[in-house]
Symmetry: C2
Subunit: 350 residues, 2 copies
């Protein structure tokens, strides 16, 4: 795995093989390399080098008389040392800009749109995890009497996030009590971040208020519920069927298997969630994922958010034979856009 396990020439050859294979999806032979990339080497020499590379585990042969294909180890070396990150084409940038141009005020729309763009640009499956907002500031908690039997609890957090919940009750409740409650709530809760709010404390507060327990309790529950919803990470996955475009999944059984797997939101969520703890850009190539269904897939993830505080994750899932260079540049580009929009939306509320 070390850089100098391979000499200059071996590296060049390995890169050629992988580049070619990513493009063609066909095992690549020694002659192809000798011709296409002018290395000034004969095919026989390359064959020898390839034999070495195979012995070291960077490439494999599907069968004796076929060319070579990269192994997971090969891809790993490639993404760490060899690949070129070619910048996005002008048209692609235009497409992205245009898609992002719409004025978006709600954060979930933003996330959704981002995943959509990514899957379109890369042609693979995109996953986006919405911000984990345990640091979000609660702006306001309000109780509204809809009619005699119903109360609406509204919780507003920074970034224009609003959640609400309806409560049915059978008590007569005085307008003034509601106002009192609202005031109290706002004193204790507003301006705090979610992780600063302690629910037990909240529950102790009411003393001089004439609202029966049967109502107060559901109110607390509703508030907690709203806060939980704010804090909860949403999760979008887009372009699942894109994988059908790639020959490695032209076998229907395999395609089904992978599709079914990608539909398991929980699994994918977990996968992406793990990556949140990782560094900026994280690759999991083929069997580096413990999950069996992922053995022919790679996932590239990165975190987004304000510097220092990573709050969400975006990722791309595709075949191990993925255009890593392009995906990396796309994902980075989107990340920056996302960061910028987030600042616009949240301002200092994060």
């Amino acid at each position: 795995m070390a850089w100098d396990e391979l000499n200059e020439r071996k590296r060049t050859i390995l890169k050629s093989i992988i580049d070619d294979y990513i493009e063609s999806a066909q095992p690549v032979g020694s002659r192809t390399i000798a011709k296409k990339h002018e290395l000034g080497l004969g095919s026989a020499t390359i064959r020898n080098e390839m034999a070495d590379l195979e012995e070291l585990g960077y490439i494999t042969q599907p069968h004796t008389s076929a060319g070579r294909i990269p192994s997971d180890k090969g891809y790993r070396f490639y993404v760490e040392n060899l690949m070129q990150i070619h910048s996005l084409a002008r048209e692609e940038i235009v497409i992205i800009r245009k898609a992002m141009d719409e004025k978006i005020e709600e954060i979930n729309h933003l996330i959704k749109k981002a995943s959509n763009i990514i899957s379109n640009i890369t042609g693979y499956t995109a996953v986006v995890m919405s911000p984990q907002l345990s640091r979000a500031v609660i702006k306001s908690v309000q109780l509204l009497a809809i009619d005699e039997k119903r109360l609406l609890v509204v919780v507003v957090a920074g970034g224009g996030i609003v959640h609400n919940r309806l409560i049915k009750h059978d008590s007569l409740i005085d307008e003034s009590d509601i106002e009192k409650l609202n005031k109290t709530f706002n004193i204790i809760i507003s301006g705090k971040t979610i992780d600063q709010i302690s629910m037990p404390v909240l529950r102790e507060l009411p003393r001089d208020i004439n609202v029966p327990k049967e109502v107060i309790f559901p109110i607390f529950e509703a508030i907690e519920d709203c806060v939980r919803k704010i804090e909860a990470t949403d999760f979008y996955i887009d372009g699942i069927t894109n994988i059908l475009n790639y020959p490695e999944f032209s076998n229907l059984m395999k395609a089904r298997e992978v599709l079914d797997f990608l539909k398991e939101k929980d699994l994918i969520h977990q996968l992406v969630f793990e990556a949140t703890k990782k560094q900026q850009l994280d690759f999991k190539i083929g069997s580096e994922n413990e999950i069996d269904e992922m053995k022919d897939l790679s996932i590239i993830t990165t975190v987004y958010g304000r510097e220092g505080k990573d709050i969400g994750t975006i990722g791309v899932i595709g075949p191990t034979r993925m255009t890593y260079g392009k995906v990396v540049s796309s994902i980075k580009y989107i990340r920056e856009l996302l960061n910028r929009e987030l600042i616009k939306i949240f301002g200092d509320d994060l």
Copy 2:
């Protein structure tokens, strides 16, 4: 197409052919029919009848030495005259009940769940269009000052539907003006159904209120927006990849085509929306759909809602070789459950 275009025997034979084909997905031959279904007829007789049925267009031959498969016309006759609607198995009812058992208060959850159940039970693709709520009653419109710069508009409709929208502004607004606005709104709007509210009238209302135009206007827009959201029909589609289970789509190209088509939410939405105007149970078989991609698919739809007022649509999309009988019973059953739940949620608010 007429009932008596086919005599008793032809009908029986046609039914046998279709039943068999639905089960096996294989062209069915004369001997199979003669043996399986004890009609007391030899295969040669059946052959003759089949030739007639073919001439009349109810069945076709993929090639000379193969059995017969139903044509769209055949299926049409089948669903109108021949098919048996076999009731749901006990286990299936248990599954449905269990899934529906969760307490659901939000209508969109209900719809989502319904589509999920349908696709699970039938094994096909389910589409559910949420209620069109132009008859929904607006319960309350409320303005909330979140902080000095932001107002929250909350619109509550019957059935626990709540929508809100945040407004940013730069004016100083008095607490008492907000209260005045709230009162006025509730006088004019609350208790009315959406189609009774006329927006122009709404816009004329404020006279003695000290809120600048720059704020009033966005408020109206926000209210309109919320109302529009309430009225808008949501749309869920579930089990898209189910079609991969059926041999008619084992050809990857075809499968892709159909999958891509099903992902076109707009198209499907339109398809289902058209059905809303139709009678209780509507079938579109194969090429009866004008859309080319649907030529191998059928869609069965039905409307749900309170008697007289149909408000939403549920449907199942599958191969023309669909287990029509079973789908019909499932869809009917779910419809009843849905109707019941809707009454629970909306009460008299519809």
